[in-house]
């Protein structure tokens, strides 16, 4: 009997209680996750809510009642705010385009070709990311002043392109590093010349990396304050206007614009994820026959 007991009793054996630590872990983890999510999103919720605040006076710090007034009169109360937003969008779009093109080409060169100075360049490209913004801004100002260049939208754009290139290179390089060169060889083997190979194979495959880099660059540009402050001269961008207004009271229109930018970004991200999903799922894999 004793010999068979081990195998027979198996099905009816009582479930072993989970260790205490594991049970605590199961309870704590969701709570912890929830707290982190609240921590991340509370400021955004506050921003959105105070866009509906029916304020008396200049300050938008305490809840005084609900209104849609700021949404309805978004662009017709503060012309200077409109201009600053327009400036920020202009700088953001131009610097993103230029930095993405240059950064992608540099990223390609750094991963593809052996050339003199490649290793130092690989490290130097991190410098604008690693250098404190305040130092960059101050030295840019000194540079423009000593070169006798007047500060305006152009100098802001030049500065933004400068720091954006590094971020684009780093992002795109990571994507290209995982790229299988045999795919390009295969394209050439099938009759595609270098340009066709780039157009039909290389570019479509590294495009997600380029898009991610461009989104990052735009996000960095649109809310940059420190470097812009040094290179703006009399020009006012959205962050500069908000900073200036904070001393006399930030109007709720700023909250509304912030909320809009947030939702545009959110819609973009959701669209992107949905598109990626659609690429991945289709007919399920079958076994070989």
């Amino acid at each position: 009997m004793a010999a068979t007991a081990g195998t027979v009793s198996r099905a009816s054996a009582p479930e072993r209680p989970r260790p205490l630590m594991q049970r605590i872990g199961r309870a704590v983890l969701p709570a912890y996750t929830g707290l982190v999510v609240i921590y991340l999103f509370l400021p955004i919720v506050v921003m959105a809510v105070f866009g509906f605040n029916d304020i008396e006076g200049r300050f938008n710090f305490t809840w005084q009642g609900f209104t849609l007034d700021h949404w309805q009169n978004l662009f017709n109360r503060y012309p200077a705010l409109n201009q600053s937003l327009l400036n920020s969008l202009t700088v953001g779009i131009i610097s993103t385009l230029v930095a993405t093109i240059f950064g992608t080409l540099i990223g390609l060169a750094l991963t593809r070709y052996e050339f003199r100075g490649r290793t130092p360049l690989n490290l130097l490209i991190f410098l604008p990311i690693a250098t404190p913004e305040i130092v960059l801004g101050a030295s840019l100002l000194a540079m423009f002043v000593s070169a006798g260049i007047g500060r305006d939208l152009t100098t802001i754009t030049i500065a933004h392109i400068m720091f954006n290139i590094s971020f684009v290179v780093v992002t795109v390089r990571a994507r290209i590093a995982g790229f299988d060169r045999a795919l390009e060889e295969a394209a050439m083997d099938l009759g595609a010349d270098e340009w066709t190979t780039f157009r039909k194979v290389t570019f479509p495959l590294i495009f997600p990396g380029i898009l991610a880099a461009a989104l990052l660059a735009f996000a960095l540009s649109i809310d940059d304050f420190v470097i812009t402050q040094f290179t703006a001269g009399q020009t006012v961008t959205f962050p500069l206007w908000v900073y200036g207004a904070s001393r006399i009271g930030v109007p709720p229109q700023v909250n509304v614009m912030g909320t809009l930018i947030f939702f545009i970004a959110l819609v973009g991200i959701v669209l992107w994820v949905v598109l990626q999903r659609r690429e991945m799922t289709a007919v399920p894999t079958t076994v070989d026959h």
Binding site: L183, E185, A186, D189, L190, G191, L205, A282, T285
Partner: protein, 385 residues
Amino acid sequence: MPEADVRLDRVTKRFGDFTAVDDLSLTMERGEFFALLGPSGCGKTTTLRMIGGFEEVTAGTVYLGGADVTELPPFKRNVNTVFQNYALFPHLDVYENIAFGLRRRRVPEGEVRAQVKFMLKLVDLPGYEKRRPNQLSGGQQQRVALARALINSPQVLLLDEPLGALDLKLRKQMQVELKRIQSEIGITFIFVTHDQEEAMTMSDRIAVMREGRIEQLGRPEELYERPASSFVAGFLGVSNLLDGEVVGRHGELVDVQLGDGTLVRAPAAASNGDTHVRVGVRPEKLRVTSSHTEAPRSVEDTNALEGTVLDASYIGVSTQYIVQTADGHKLTVYAQNLETSGASEALADGQTVQLTWRPQHTFVIARTDRDVDATPQYEEGQVPS
């Protein structure tokens, strides 16, 4: 004289100080299934890549159907390649992958559709047009890669370790499939492999490469039955090699005296007039018998060696013996289990036995300082850098 399809004329490829391919001359005939076989780093893949146009040639000339293509980029050569890991375009579906070559030549859509359909049928994947490469199994990807190359009706198809990423069963199946497709379309296939069995099964001719040179070139049975060097003997299958001196000649046969004084006979043609030689015999050609049951036969028609069984392993179709000769050589013997029916009937360890084989089954290799025992290496045969 069959027409030459690909000809390499004294081709050398160096990567820095490393010579991957060393003054290689080689002719592949039209319609033949040709294998470049060798261990990792022997230059076989580099050779293939030079034919495809993916490596610049350091010296020498590459001819394709008589025309010098040495300087031409891959997209101007009428060859197509099945890459080692297939290199299917992950962002295109099966249809567009296969149609890629036709699109480059601006073939009208109707014809593209018909040809892709034909190709999918040829590689036995009809109905897979809309799949993405990542939705296919390894074997299916392999077939798509094949279709994508063949649709361009290349003069020569290059295959770089085409079956390396497949499991054993699928590999066997694809070997047969590849041979069928090759005979169906009748173009030259040049394929690179480190797997001697694969090369033997599929090829019309095999070039065994070593250190950037061709060690031996011939039909599979020539390489197996008459290897020209210890390297080839060891790389293609198992062989037993014994050092000896040629001491006499009897018509078609030569007498070779082994280290322990035993005389064995080998075909004279195989000895090439060398005196310091190695004689070899394949394990399945040896007959092992218990010394008591049979008296030694005359040396005239049978070679014989005495030995002791070190190890007997029953492996189903055959029993494998390791037999040690009087002077310490260890020989491998595969005895077909024709009449025996179990391990119990095998000869026991420590038993004295006699090994006999026919002189015609002996091969002779000149002893040189390049003699190294080759064991097949089963790593990926990549380009050394």
